[in-house]
């Protein structure tokens, strides 16, 4: 359980950035210590229903009632200090579950700019949930994955805002997510024919002439080249 949601102050943000950049082997536990330091953080929500999320879906479900639209703290959804705090708080749990290392700094420290902002693990997971809050099942290709794992589907879909913010996420779910196993299909993490990388390339190519954002998933499935057949 998290018990509260906080934001880093200026000093907290700076210390967390330095820590992640240091690549110290003990970074996850040090990050958690920073996140619980009252001199570096300010709590804005205290609650007993903040269950520790393990997937992107659970993160969205946990945060939505507190920072979703028209809530008292909706501004936190666009506040890097909140996303950095959450990354610091959850880093050790995320890495323990995924058995991976800290890796790319931008996964944990929010970096502004259209080519970087989407790389943040926490912020991007919530963003996708937020875009599909009325029907999260439409975004399961991204939301199904463990919180600490970015993954090829997430990378390719989120790298283009026009795809992530439109029917593109639903199309990826339709192609790559298997509702029976509740996981993405084998091969969806590759770079070959029919892969998420090829899907993003296809959508980015046709967008010069076709307004795919106003199309439905079945219409787009009909339009896809043959290489995507194996995932249909």
């Amino acid at each position: 359980m998290l018990l509260d949601l906080r934001v880093f102050n200026e000093s907290g943000n700076a210390k967390f950035s330095e820590l992640v950049a240091s690549k110290h082997p003990d970074t996850p536990s040090r990050a958690k210590k920073l996140s619980l330091d009252d001199s570096l953080t300010t709590a804005f929500i205290s609650s007993n229903d903040l269950l520790l999320p393990t997937t992107k879906l659970e993160l969205g479900q946990m945060l939505w009632p507190h920072i979703g639209p028209d809530t008292l703290h909706e501004d936190k959804a666009a506040d890097p200090s909140f996303w950095n705090w959450l990354a610091a708080r959850l880093m050790s749990e995320c890495l323990e579950k995924s058995k991976s290392s800290v890796g790319n700094q931008k996964r944990w420290v929010y970096t502004a700019g259209s080519r970087n902002a989407y790389r943040h693990l926490m912020s991007s997971a919530y963003l996708i949930y937020s875009n599909h809050s009325d029907d999260p099942s439409a975004a399961m290709a991204i939301l199904c994955s463990p919180l600490g794992v970015f993954g090829e589907v997430t990378e390719q879909i989120l790298a283009s805002r026009s795809i992530a913010g439109s029917v593109g996420t639903e199309l990826a779910t339709s192609l790559y997510y298997d509702p029976e196993t509740k996981k993405n299909k084998a091969g969806s993490g590759g770079k070959d024919a029919g892969s998420p990388r090829r899907l993003a390339a296809f959508l980015n190519q046709i967008k010069l002439t076709v307004d795919y954002k106003s199309m439905t998933v079945p219409e787009l499935l009909d339009l896809l080249p043959e290489e995507f057949e194996r995932f249909k």
């Binding site: 501004d75 666009a78 700019g113 259209s114 989407y118 805002r161 439109s166 967008k207 307004d211 199309m215």
Partner: protein, 248 residues
């Protein structure tokens, strides 16, 4: 002449003369106001007009006109996501082909709005005051526009630099140099904001056609020459001297 261009797919361009857009954030609730007149495009088939609104994180689509009226106005409240930071809009006119596939018949250049309310429909350089910027200023090309981020620590921009012609005239040469070098070094298709810069700098000597084969030092030399030409053309040195004389 430069050959790279965004508008190479046969679709028409909705120019700045055909629409007026503003983004109000005065009460903390962003409100987009757009008026348009696309009659010069003479799109006779049934069409839909939409505007894609985006920032670094999200994109939101607003329908301007279900019936595709050539002339109209809309006031639309945006989500709180767009209350701060740079917001970009792009207007698109969509028709359907014979098989019902939505085709982009016309689109506008991207217009960006900074937190301070400035937009690229008025200027090709948008200034974005940033409270926690660690340097005095820096350029950001990520969005496809040229965004000048200026430190607003202790209200440095809003109370001092915003009014300072001396600050502006001393940095503009560096900005032009950086933009020219970026244009020379960029191999991808240019975004709309940079196309406007390209159009401005080509008459001043920017030669993108041969940049693929040039080495870095040649590109830097060319960018410097373009910056010099720009500064001479705009008589920046004379402006600086007269501004300093006024202060004295």
């Amino acid at each position: 002449m430069a050959t790279r261009s965004l508008n190479d797919t046969g679709r028409s361009r909705i120019t700045h003369e055909m629409f007026d857009a503003s983004l109000s954030r005065e009460t903390g609730e962003p409100v987009l106001k757009i008026s348009w007149d696309i009659t010069p495009l003479s799109i006779r088939s049934k069409k839909k007009l939409v505007v894609d609104v985006s920032n670094d994180r999200v994109e939101q689509r607003v329908e301007l006109s279900e019936v595709g009226a050539d002339v109209g106005e809309i006031i639309y409240p945006l989500s709180a996501e767009f209350a701060v930071g740079v917001t970009r809009i792009r207007i698109v006119a969509v028709t359907e082909d014979a098989s019902g596939i939505p085709i982009i018949r016309a689109e506008s250049v991207t217009t960006s709005f900074s937190t301070s309310g400035e937009s690229t429909s008025k200027s090709i350089l948008v200034v974005e005051p940033v409270a926690d910027l660690a340097v005095i200023w820096e350029l950001d090309f990520d969005s496809g526009d040229v965004i000048l981020k200026v430190s607003n620590k202790d209200n440095l921009w809003s109370e001092q630099l915003r009014q300072s012609q001396i600050f502006k005239s001393t940095i503009i040469g560096h900005i032009v140099y950086a933009v020219a070098l970026h244009l020379l070094a960029t191999r991808d298709e240019l975004a709309a904001g940079l196309v406007n810069w390209q159009n401005l700098l080509v008459p001043l000597g920017l030669n993108i056609d041969d940049s693929d084969e040039a080495d870095v030092e040649d590109l830097m030399d060319q960018a410097r020459d373009v910056s010099h030409a720009f500064q001479e053309d705009r008589k920046l040195l004379s402006h600086l001297i007269s501004n300093l004389e006024e202060i004295e």
